[in-house]
């Protein structure tokens, strides 16, 4: 499974949108119903799954699925 697919599969556990229906424009809070706790828990899970270190200041600027994927790609590069 590639990184984007794995990422979407994780996000889908937190919301009612399936990984298949998830688009890069979808916003975590407004479209997917994430609370602050959900979002920060997700960040922790992403760190553990993809073995990356997220800077909280940058991570809290993430609004959409696309933003998060870009952040992950940059950290993994």
């Amino acid at each position: 499974m590639n990184r984007a697919a794995e990422f979407k599969k994780i996000v889908a556990q937190y919301c009612s949108v399936t990984a298949e229906d998830m688009t890069e424009e979808m916003r975590f809070r407004e479209d997917l119903g994430f609370s602050s706790l959900d979002f920060m828990s997700l960040l922790g899970e992403l760190e553990d799954t993809f073995d990356v270190e997220l800077e909280q200041e940058n991570a809290v600027q993430v609004r959409t699925i696309g933003d998060a994927l870009n952040m992950l790609e940059e950290l993994a590069a």
Partner: protein, 461 residues
Amino acid sequence: MRKEYPLTAAQNMHYQWIREYKTQQVSGVSIVASLKAPLDFGLLKKCIQLEIQRYGCMRLRFTKPDEKGEIRQYLIKHDARDIPLKDMSGMTLAEADDVMQNWAYQTLDGDNRPMCEVVMVKLPEGFNGFFVHMDHRLIDSCGLVVMVNDLMSLYTHYRFGAEYPADLADFESVLANDLQKANNEKRFAKDKKFWDDQLDALGEPLYSDIQGSSVLEEARKKHKNPKLRAADIERKQLFVAVKDYILEPEPTKGLIDFCMNHQLSMTNLLLLGIRTYLSKVNNGQEDITIENFISRRSTHDEWTSGGSRTIMFPCRTVITADTEFLAAAYEIQNVQNRIYMHSNYDPALIREEMRKRYGTPEDTTYESCYLTYQPMPVHVDNPFLQSIPMHSKWFANGAATKKMYLTVSHTPEGGMNFSYHYQTACLTEKDMELLYYYMMRILFTGISQPDIKIGDLMAQV
């Protein structure tokens, strides 16, 4: 052979309270859920028995403590218990509430035994339903609401042909996953570093009391230490009283709108209200810590697996008098967001680290206030029952481990309920009145003047 698991951090928090306060009463949680409708009690009994099978946490038991006092947990496969029916229809609602309140005071003592009790109830004024009394190590309030909804869905399926409710997540799998996460060494190191860094940066916390600085002064005299920064915990007289205040829908909307317009969560606004009050009555103290409970339910499985997922972490902020209200709210939000990211950590380890660093005396604490914000309304979310009046009520277990524990929830009418649970050994209803009054003054002055400086706000209210 049965599979046994250690306790999670959240479960261990309750277990340690049971040990420290020497009574299981501190771990009781009880609710009654009823509808103003005739119920088929034979069918309800069947649904409760089915629910016990579906919702694994209801079948959880604990082993006898080992030589170190530690216990383990295990699930029994089947629990085919009878469900008794108590007829209280001849009483007034207040009298029936008294009976159930007494049930809520009962302890579930011993090991290798069921840790939950369910009674079907016929209540006055045509209400019928069920009362549940459980150990908090099995479930938290969110978990209970999920259970009530699921049970009602089972009932409406069999009674009215509604769709059969979706499967709930397997409690044992979620438990195993939680324990595995807690044992992730890399994650543990990151979480520990976060909490240790906070102590490195800010040093030893400083106690602040609802009743002002005299409480810390008393502790300093008692411990013969004029530099003591922690105050004593009441361990013996645990009787708790509850005082509820309802904030009307219109002002509630004002708070909600402020949060939405400024991308703030209600928890953080409430924390700001409490900490500003504490600062006001403690000579402008800037370093304030409040224990905030979070319900670690984010994924589908975490929401529907039951279990005790609520855990408290100290929210410590140092906010100067010249900080503007909105900036202070963001500062709290920033701290809370970091805490959320590190909420897999066992908060007992934070206290242990502080004891190690600062020699904090036994039976003392840095916090007097505890907050739970419950965004989830307690109502039966079932289209077949929407038009039927409901009576539901949480019952306090009657023994407080905390000096003041505030639960804020939303009312069905769109208001907010501020429920203050306080130890009567130390606090009075008047203290709660003052706290609520000033919290409201602080919050509403702050949201109407977000650029007001905290020092000016404290002077103004």
